[in-house]
């Protein structure tokens, strides 16, 4: 029987307590898939902060193991939005995401971002599946609309984007190739940015994973990566939580630049990628109350 479990990265910065987000994400996994262990990857400083803020009991309930790493500091400032009316810049430490292949203690691993909250047990259906690597290809916002073109394609005449928010893989030669190419893309980011013609300077793991998938597949889209069924539901950074009604039951505000188009949406029984991280932190007590 192969070992199976979930992993997530959490490196705090001045603005965002990623370990607190990881606690929420881990509790959501334990709520809907209690049989699977959760391993946190973090650094010493974030770990100490988490221990001091939330206590070892809460951490033990969330994480079955903690892996300490110390990724080299690389400036990677990211503009975040907290709802429609507030934005801020924060360091985004995601440069060692591809190292997860070597850090994982499991034969089969699902790596999730700390702002991805499970709302059912569908991800567990990936274990023992037909593919060595699987990710989401499609996403829908709260209004069930597709994201902007830059979140679907790396370039209008380029390759399709895979979301690295959730990455499933089975330890295998194929998966190792995938993560090795991801690592090479990271190391030569400027070159691949030029080659695949995508805009911006922010290091995006969605893009590096998409390039690795494309290269691994023989520079084509031939089914090397398994597609996680249906689509990834996401709450945009400009959206917000209105009410937490249950462990997987939300009323959210879907905001647009034109205020008169804002609307409330009910999300129930689904996994949700809550990109507005501060909305999770603001509702931390209520969410944890429902997940505990």
């Amino acid at each position: 029987m192969s070992t199976r479990g979930f992993m997530m990265f959490a490196y705090n910065n001045e603005q965002l307590d990623y370990t607190q987000l990881a606690l929420v994400a881990a509790y959501a996994i334990k709520k809907h898939m209690p049989d699977y262990p959760v391993v946190l990857v973090t650094n010493q400083q974030s770990l100490e902060h988490c221990k001091n803020t939330h206590g070892p009991l809460m951490m033990a309930a969330a994480f079955d193991d903690i892996v300490l790493t110390n990724p080299e500091y690389e400036r990677n400032m990211r503009l975040h939005h907290d709802g429609a009316y507030h934005s801020f810049n924060a360091q985004f430490t995601n440069t060692n995401k591809h190292d997860i292949y070597n850090l994982s203690p499991f034969d089969e691993t699902i790596l999730i971002d700390t702002d991805y909250l499970c709302g059912n047990d569908n991800l567990s259906k990936l274990f023992g599946g037909q593919h060595d690597v699987a990710m989401y290809r499609d996403a829908r916002n709260l209004r069930c609309e597709e994201p902007f073109t830059t979140e679907r394609w790396l370039h209008y005449a380029g390759i399709r984007m895979w979301w690295s928010t959730v990455v499933y893989w089975r330890k295998s030669e194929e998966a190792e190739h995938f993560f090795n190419i991801w690592s090479a893309v990271k190391k030569n980011w400027e070159y691949y940015r030029f080659l695949y013609k995508f805009p911006g300077t922010l290091y995006r793991t969605d893009y590096s994973a998409s390039i690795a998938a494309h290269m691994c597949d023989g520079w084509q889209d031939g089914g090397f990566i398994g597609q996680i069924p249906n689509f990834m539901r996401y709450q945009d950074q400009r959206d917000d939580i209105v009410e937490v009604l249950g462990p997987n039951h939300w009323v959210m505000m879907s905001n647009l630049p034109e205020e008169w188009k804002n609307m409330v949406v009910e999300i129930k029984g689904e996994d949700v990628h809550l990109m507005n991280k501060k909305s999770i932190l603001r509702n931390y007590d209520k969410i944890m109350e429902n997940l505990a």
């Binding site: 249906n230 009323v251 949406v265």
Partner: protein, 115 residues
């Protein structure tokens, strides 16, 4: 048209939009509920697949079916597989019916989203 009437009309438009998004979100939940994991493969419990498997079970024949990624999967226990498909289909339809009933009686934007 005075402001009051216009505001009421715009509030109604917002209600209609919320209703439509809610319908689409229910469809998304139904799609997720139709997923069945069997023998390391994922299937969607469609009426077509259910009927095909049921026919093979009735004729006591072996079952080879394509999964969601078009891999051909040998179904070792076709009766068990059929039961899984039926259970997923029934629970998805029950979910859809319950939500549709709730939406039918929701006459305000707040009611639609469960507030």
């Amino acid at each position: 048209m005075d402001d009051k009437k216009l505001n009421e009309a715009l509030a109604f438009a917002n209600y209609r939009l919320t209703l439509q998004v809610q319908r689409q979100n229910i469809e998304a939940r139904v799609e997720a509920a139709l997923l069945v994991s069997y023998n390391g493969a994922l299937f969607k419990a469609t009426q077509e697949l259910i009927n095909f498997v049921a026919l093979r079970v009735m004729r006591n024949e072996s079952v080879l079916v394509e999964d969601n990624s078009t891999n051909v999967i040998t179904i070792l226990d076709s009766t068990e597989f059929l039961n899984l498909l039926l259970a997923a289909y029934d629970s998805a339809m029950q979910l859809k019916q319950d939500e549709q009933k709730r939406l039918k009686s929701a006459r305000s934007t707040a009611k639609i989203v469960g507030l």
